[in-house]
Structure formats: structure tokens, C-alpha cells
Subunit: 343 residues, 4 copies
């Protein structure tokens, strides 16, 4: 049985485990005060080109989103996000638990446009009763999106311009950041993101770590008391070293981008396989998640040999499926899938 | 430099790391649906003698407390805890974030008595305006307490009787549970706790794991939708296997209790050292945290050679200090400390 | 200048003020323990045919919605409502402040159908990741809706059947309840609502009172500690008599329905006026809010002589406007409007 | 039967009711946009000597405290208050509902001292783990306190100096403000309070109004979006005129202070009565709440003829009772009580 279910079905990249072994008995203070965290922060600051950036390590994505949003928003403000955004759909109300509403934006293939954002904001403030409504306090986007799609540099800069006009910080959810940056379709890098975003995070969990997300406030603009906010959200790991060691390894010798590149290379091979079998896609994803449209018969034929997710039934009774690659996907596994596609 | 700062200054027990290595590339589903979690849950159910128990794995202690309390309380209810309880002092308001008040109980050496609990409850409901006050909805205690002290089986059963009288679930915070159970002063075991508590957790982070706490509802009495509550609190690890593998190892061949026993053995040796030097203690702790009272001169003499925490200045200008042992503390280190105590 | 801006531009019906005068110096206990509240509750119980109903008086609509929803939902659950529902749009995030998400349903003219509700629920539980999403915990609808439309008895009963199937309590927001019940298009009465709803409220503010909403749990099914929940939401009036006296008057000699009938009679006259001038409506409202479509020129011609709200610009550059009548609208004012419509 | 139970057992002062009658059918916009609110705000700005003050009208005290505190604090911050403060005890967790902890200060007769505040803050920031604790974000005090006591001008200024040192806004809960200011023991006035406090409110409910509290940000320093915060807390009255008319009347021809003075005059007469009978007091209150200590026999003798509150049983089996006067208490009623004190 081979699996393309998601990008977190394996443990960590071996180099990371090795570093955990090597440093295991070093005695270090807790709560991120250890030297591994310090080293990892220094490497990240260098990678993003912001020597004054504030960097924090949290454990998982939902937690990170809830913590950042709670810290940045004023009480009662809402966060604008694509209607398909992770915080809008799949975080079980974590944002609402801290008292904030997710304000959904029209989206296409997981992305909202600067124009749809601008239209929303204009309409909002044109409404005579806007003071009776939840005011937007920040803008959230995921990169890549939940559908594997990417914003171009130009798109992000136009979105940012709208944010600046309305005084809204821009927050980029990079749970799969590496898989976006390593895509041949991506026209920007970490340093660009650090210039454009007010806060973003570099996802570790899905790109080779056991767990961990690195939150970055590029301009050293972390809200007052952010460490306490992390603690309050239950996101301050006692053995912060676990996160420090992992990000230190990920940002040594470009490992993070190498792992990401493997996933993208495999995803493009996988994409070619489906194309070669004339199997259509739900949308054209340039990243590690691919969404072929399969018939019930094709799905049945594959089940038992390969794991993948079935996302949605289309009106014509075919199904949108998801095949995800990761840092751990081997060419052999993709090739094995190829054998199975001879329906 | 040797360190007794706390019980989370090292990584994980080597057997745990080894299991992480061995299972690293196994492909398993996320969010705790993996076979390691299943195995770990089975072992825990057996260890506590409750085949029908609900078991969940979360990442850290503050997170676990906030999640359990939020899930068990009705909206607006409060949680009764010793005024020194971790949730009352050192969790940055995590309980309040979910809208609940911590109702402090009079305490002695970190413990509250069944009587003080009963008096509080009687006074509360005798107050004519009790409906204008925060009603208690559950009782929280830590075992061992933040001062290393332990409740006896009789004490816990009397507390439980008061809880039953008032319809309040009893929640035991076992962040250091092993270090309580392994103490020669402890007159109860996991199976007793499972009979007495409505919900408790078995701390992994401080007893040999990299991270992880196992929440147990012994009677299969997890609140409806508890998994969603975990997700909503940002406490559902994508790679749940990280927790499953660790607890599976900890509950194989009695590893958890062996690690705990090492910490206790070392703590008792350390205690003897101070006694032999006629250094007094702030209180008589039977667990892995010891609280010798040192003079400023003694503290100065030790600094540079040994790390420990200074907790509090006494009226006579001496200091309460904390020396903690753990699963990783070696007899050699304790002996080395002994050399340093020749002031 | 005449005004049809909304249904709360005047104070209270004179009979209510008179009762406030007459009882002003009677000494009564606070917080709703007074004899006026007791009398008003008895009258409401009789009017709805539920001698065992729990009745509470709160001050305003947003407050009432937030309090009821917070009391009924379990932590983290969401409330299903038409996307145009008051709680979804115009309550500034009051529901989210207590940690709950508003789950929007497709709507038409302010109403959602039993079918759209059923489809939503089926899709939700069919989604493999539903445990990562906000689970619905109750259903909210407004009667009349924000667009003045009404559910028929059959529609409500079908909606209730879906609620029962999924174990969801049904909550009816009756901020303008009288204006619904008094409409000739309405085929149900208070006693029917009390049979169908798990909780509803009878709006006072917009139907002749200075302020006040009567929350009814028809089956005596108020959640445990509901009085404390009211207090916690800042909704427990110290001088509860202010609410008791008003509802006592409103439910004496059928005053509530008489006031409502006046608003409806005036609204139908007003509707006829527009029809007679061949002015179209945005939708066919049978209640006290009417939505004529006016051109910019017509709006300009009216301004200065009559107040009304402009809601929305249509693609063809005409505008949806709102004219509201109330218990206080006189036939003379409607007639005066008629004079102005000769564009 | 005469009653001294509390200061909200009657309706409103007749002049207020009269103004409600006179203005009843004036058509005015909702939500505080009416001309009565505008006039009342102007009069309050003049009375406090702050032409640029932001003034808002809310309905009740608990609601006002919760709204102001939520608006001023950053997420997760706590509010410092005397352990006996209304927000700490009798508001059912309203502050916690918005996610904030009440941090209790040592108090005496309902007051905390600048010194106890300074000690608390020094200890807090001296604690090595303060970032794991709830950080204080503002200071709350009630004037008069829940025990009828008053801070002197010097005391308030010293408290304010500590607040300034730590960057904490000072919030004064004036639910009974008039009864403080009208006391012969009070050495400050509204203009002093406006200079000292960052935000305070002028209580209407207990000083002659049916309901209503006027929140004042003297320096025009209302937090951004405060109107939305009011709405979100369910505290924005649709018929805001009800509050505007009342405060307009209260601040016309010094009515507010006249009503307050009546209560104080009656309270001092009542105090003399008890003194003349050699009945001791729990504490020496200079305001409208008096706390005589009665025996069980005395209480029994009075019951049936006079209503008052029994607050607390003393170790010697006597009871602390509370007798409250108000704007509505007549000299005749106090004299009648005198007759009853001949035990």
C-alpha cells in the first residue's frame, strides 16, 4: 500500500532526528530560552534578510493562527480571509474562541483578489450601520492555499497596498510555505515575503519536522506581551528545544528548501502521470497537492493499493480527489502509482 | 556546571527516541488516528484498570488544563483550585480566555483540604446573592502539587465526597504524576486515581517524553465533541504519532514508573545531602522537587557551579530555593552537588 | 417632517408610561423579583398557553440573542442562521464574544428553508473532517425576518422537524414578533410558537415599550443557571420593575397585539400608496417594514419632507428603500406621505 | 412596612418621568443619535470641566464595567481591583466572559491603598516567571466602595501616580457616584475625578434614574471603535433617548447632586439613630449605605416592620446588616425606623 493522503504521514527528516539524538542530554532552559532556539532564530533572520525580526516557535498550525490573530486584533475585531481559508473552515472555531469573527471573502481556487478585498472594504465602510458590524482588523491568507494555488508577487503586493490603505496588517499562513516557495511557478522568496507581510509563519510540521511553526514579525513588530499570549494559548512548549533543534536543522545548509523541492519534483511527476492518462484536474496546482478528477470506478480500482483523499462529488458524479506529496515521497512511490493508473 | 533547575532540561529518554527512529518512515494517518496512539491508549487503559476509558493525547500542560476545563464547564462556570494551583497562577490566563474564572481555595503547602472546600461551597450557597456570582462547576487539584506535596488516598476520597455532594467533577492535573506515584510517601496508584477522578492527565513532558500529556476520562465520560474541543484549542497534533509513539514506549515494560522512580531516588539522596549539612527545608516534600532554605552567601557560593531556582525571599533574608531531579538525573550529579555543599 | 425611518423613533405607548407613573414610588425588590415582573410572567404564560414556561425579561435584542445563545450552546458550538440574520450581520460580533461562530445558511428574502437547513446538516456530517469544524448546536431564525417576511406555520414545523432530527434546539428571535403575528398573512399565534420553539422572545422595544424583551422557554426548559448567565451578560436590570411594569401593561387587555395591529394597518395603507403610484417593491412584505424601489430623483424629491432608510443600490441605479411603521404611526402621517408621492 | 434594602427599590425621580412624558412622541433617531443624548453629553462635559470628553450612555453597571474593561485592556490582560470590588465578586464573571482575569488586591473596608497596589506591581515584575502570568492592564476602583467608604483626593492621586508609573489606566466605577460626592467627608468633585481618572462612569440607576450609566473618557480618549464595543456587549439601547432624557434631566439645575444630597442627609440621620441607641457599626461609612451590627434578637424584632439586608454573621454571633438610603428616602421613613429601634 502506498499513500498520498497528506503531507504529514511520516515522522521527521532523518537529519532532524539525528540532531535530536545528538543534543538529547544537553541541559538547556525551557520555554524557548535554549541555545538551539537562539541559533534557529538567527538562521531564520538571515534567511529572510531581517536582522531585527522577532521569531517565535509554536507547535502547530491551528494554534499558531489562533495565537497570532488574537495577539494582533483589538477586542471584537474580525479577520478577513478567503471563504475557503483554513481558519474559516477547518480550525473548529479556534478564532471565535478568542472572541473574533472570521469575515469570509469571495475566492477562486482558494485565492481572493486584491479587488475583492477592496470591494469588501469599500462596501463595509459605505454601509450606514457599519459600526453595528464586526470591523475588520487584519487580513489572512494561506500560501500555498488549501487548494495548492499560489499568489504571485504582484498579487501579494496589490493585496498589501489595499491593506495599507485601510490600516490592516497582513498575515500569511505558511503551513506549507516551503511547498509554495519551491514551486517553479513561484516568483518570490522568503525575503520578499518578509518585506510584504506584517507577520507570517514558516511551517515545519508539513515540511519535514515532527511539529513546529516559526512565527516571524519581520520588522521586530511583535505585539507587546506576545510570549504571554503564546503561553495563554497553550502554545509555549516546556521543552522548547524540540522546536529549536528542528528549525535549526531545517535552516542549516538549505535543508528546508531541499525537502520542499523533493515534494514539488514528485508532485510534478505525479501530475504528468495523470496527464499522460488523460485524467483531468479540478484545478491547475503548481504545488505538492494535486486534485485529479476520478470516476467512481477509478477510485474503486485504486483503493486497496493506494491511499488518497476524496474531497468532493461533482454534479456529473465524478469526484475531486487529492494526492499529496511531501519531503518523504520517493520517485519509486510515484512510479508505483503510475502502474496503478492503467485503468 | 550541573543543573537542578527543573525537570525539563533534557530531551527524552533514549528508548523513546529510539522508537521514534524505528517508526519514523511508517506511513500513518494524522490527528491521533495512527496505530501508535491506538496501542498507547490500550496500554493506558490496562494500566489504570478501566477498559472503557476515553484517552486523548495533547501536547503540553497549560493547553491540557485549558482544554479539559473548557470542555467540562458550562458557560460562565468557574473552577475551584488551590490559590497556588498552576491554573490560578502560571498559565497566563488560559482558563479565562475561554471565559472561566478560577475560584481560589485556601491552601497549605500547595494543598487544599476537603474541609476548606466544603466551607467554601457552604458559604457560597448561603450567600443570598450567589446567583450574581460565578458558580463553581468543577474542582481542580495538582498531584503532586506545585510545592511537591501529595494528597493521601484518604484526603482525595474526602475531597471527592464533597465534590459528589455538590455535583462537581474532580479533575487531577498530573503534569508530574509519575513523580507523585513513585514517591515512598504515596499510598495510591493509577488504578486508585482512575476510580477517584472524573478526569485526570498523565504528564509525559516532565517524565521522560519530549512533550505530551495523556488525558483520561476513566468512565468513558469524555464530554461530547471533545476531539473538536482539542482541535479548537490548537491542541490536536497533526503528527499525532509523535505523542502515540512516546506514550506507547512509556507504558511498555513499566518505563514510566521506572523513570519516575529514578527521579525520586535521586531526590531523596539530594534531600539527605542537605539534611546532613543541617540545611533546613521550606517544607517536607516527598517528591522530585526539594525546597532547601539557603542564605545569600550559600547561594552565591553555589552559583557558577550549579543551577537551581530561587523562589522567594523570607522575612529573615534567607531564600527558598528549588532543586528538581528528573528521570535523567544521575547519582553522579547528585554526588557532585554534595561536594559543593561544603560551605 | 414625517418619519418612517424605523420602529423605535418614539418613546413608549402612553398606557405604559402611565403605569410607570402610577407605580413609581412602590418599593419593590430589584433584579426582577418585583411583583410587576411576577404579574407580567403570569400573563405571558397564559397568553402562550404554557403554565410551566420559564420567562425572563432582558433589556434589548442583541443582548438577548447573545445571552440565549451563550446559555444554550455547548462551548465551541455554532449557531445556524440565515446569512442575513441579525446575529450574523448587525450585532457587532456579540455571539463571537462568547466564543461561538455564526454558521450562515443560504436564504431568500431573509428566510432559509427546511431543505437548505437539511442539506447543510447532511453535508456537514458527510464531510470526513467534520470534527475539525464548528459543530452546529442550535438553529436561529427571526420572525419577522430582517426583510419583513414571515415563515408559515407549515414552514416552521418542517424546520423544527429537521432540528429534532439533529437534536438542535430552535430559537426564534421575535424582536418584531407582534408585527409578524398581527399580519393578515400570518397563520399562527403565540400558542403555536410556544409549541414549535424551544426558546423565543417577545420583542417589547419595537412594539410599544421603552425597552425590554421577554425570553420564553415554553417547556420550563431554561438552562441551569440562566439568571446568572443574564447577569454575566450585563442584561439583568437592577430596577427590573421597569421591564415588569411594561410587559404587564403590554399583556393586559391585549395591548401588545393592538399596538402591533396599528403598525400593520398603517403599513398596508402605505403599501397601497406605493402600488397606486406604480412604484415597485424589492419584495412583498406582509409586515411593518416595506421596501419600495425608488429612483435617485424620487429619493431626492422626498428628502427634506420625509425620513426613511436607503438600503441598497441596485444594478440599474435605482435604490431599495425601507419605510417602517410602528404602534405610533398615525393614519394622518401615512396620508401625508401620500401627498408627497406625486412625483 | 418601610424599606432600606437598597437604593433601587423605587422607580425614577418624578422630574425624570415628567421629561419622559413630555418628549415621548418626539421622533428621534435611535442608538444615542437623538438630541436628548446630545444635550445630556453637553451638560456632562460642562459639569466635569472637560469640553473634549467622550461620553456614552449605557444601561447598567455590570454591563458598563464589562464593556469598558474589554475595550481598554489588550487581549489576555487582567484588571487590578480590591478583592471586594464589584467586578471581583458580584458580576457573575462578566469580565472573564471577555477573557480577562480580575487580579485581586488586598483591601480594607473596601479600599485598596496606593502602597498595596505598588507592592503588588513590584512583586509581579520581580517574579522571574511574570511572563507566564496574567499581566495587569488597568486599575479599577469603586467610588464609593461596596462598603460605602470613600477615597480621599490625596489617596486617589497617589494611586494614580502608581498607575502612571506602570502605564496602567485608572477606571473609577461610579455606580453610586453621587452618594460619594454628596458626602460631607468627600474632598473632591466631578472636575477632580475627571482630572484623575482615565475613564469613569456616573451612575444613574441608583441615583434617581430608571436605568442608565454615563461613561466618561475625560480626555476624549475613548478606545477606537468604542461604540461597536458597546453594541457587541449588548449595551447599545435602541431607544437611546431613554438614557439621554434621563441624564439630561439629572444634569439640569443640579438635580443629580440634589438627589444624592437627600440620600446622604437621610443616611446621616439614620446613623445618628443607631448611635443614639448605642448600636455599633461594622465600619464608619460616610455615604448612603450604613452597616449597623445587630443581634439576632434585634433583627427578629425589626423584621415584619422594616426591610434591610443581613450581610454577614460575625464570630460572636451578631450580624452585619446594611441599611441604604436613596434619593427617594423621606425624613418620615427614617423617623419611623427610629420608633422601631426601641428594642
Amino acid at each position: 500500500m502506498i499513500s498520498f493522503t497528506c503531507d504529514y504521514i511520516e515522522g521527521a527528516h532523518p537529519l532532524i532526528l539525528q540532531r535530536l539524538m545528538e543534543t538529547n542530554l544537553d541541559q538547556e532552559p525551557g520555554y524557548g530560552e535554549d541555545r538551539f532556539c537562539a541559533s534557529a532564530k538567527a538562521r531564520i533572520r538571515e534567511a529572510i534578510g531581517c536582522p531585527g525580526a522577532d521569531v517565535f516557535f509554536l507547535v502547530g498550525g491551528t494554534q499558531t493562527n489562533a495565537t497570532v490573530i488574537d495577539a494582533v486584533l483589538r477586542p471584537g475585531e474580525g479577520v478577513l480571509a478567503a471563504a475557503t481559508g483554513h481558519i474559516a473552515v477547518h480550525e473548529a472555531g479556534a478564532v471565535e474562541t478568542a472572541g473574533h469573527k472570521v469575515l469570509p471573502l469571495a475566492q477562486q481556487e482558494g485565492k481572493f483578489s486584491a479587488q475583492s478585498l477592496a470591494v469588501w472594504l469599500e462596501s463595509f465602510y459605505a454601509d450606514a450601520s457599519w459600526e453595528h458590524m464586526v470591523a475588520p482588523g487584519m487580513v489572512y491568507l494561506s500560501f500555498p492555499t488549501e487548494y495548492g494555488t499560489l499568489y504571485s508577487k504582484a498579487e501579494l503586493m496589490t493585496i498589501k497596498a489595499v491593506c495599507v490603505k485601510y490600516g490592516l496588517p497582513l498575515f500569511l499562513d505558511g503551513a506549507r510555505l516551503g511547498y509554495g516557495l519551491a514551486s517553479p511557478s513561484c516568483d518570490l522568496g522568503l525575503k520578499d515575503l518578509a518585506q510584504i507581510c506584517d507577520v507570517f509563519y514558516i511551517g515545519g510540521t508539513k515540511v519535514g519536522a515532527l511539529c513546529g511553526e516559526a512565527v516571524v514579525f519581520p520588522a521586530g513588530n511583535a505585539p507587546k506581551g506576545f510570549l504571554t499570549t503564546i503561553k495563554r494559548h497553550g502554545a509555549l512548549l516546556a521543552k522548547g528545544r524540540l522546536l529549536g533543534v528542528q528549525f535549526d536543522a531545517l535552516f542549516t545548509d538549505n535543508l528546508y528548501m531541499q525537502l520542499a523541492k523533493n515534494a514539488i519534483d514528485r508532485a510534478l511527476e505525479l501530475k504528468e502521470l495523470f496527464i499522460s492518462k488523460s485524467i483531468p484536474f479540478y484545478l491547475d496546482s503548481p504545488t505538492n497537492q494535486q486534485f485529479p478528477i476520478l470516476t467512481a470506478g477509478q477510485i474503486q480500482a485504486l483503493q486497496g493499493s493506494v491511499n488518497f483523499e476524496v474531497w468532493e462529488k461533482l454534479p456529473d458524479d465524478r469526484y475531486v480527489t487529492r494526492f499529496a506529496t511531501s519531503w518523504a515521497t520517493t520517485p519509486e512511490k510515484v512510479a508505483a502509482l503510475g502502474q496503478l493508473l492503467d485503468f
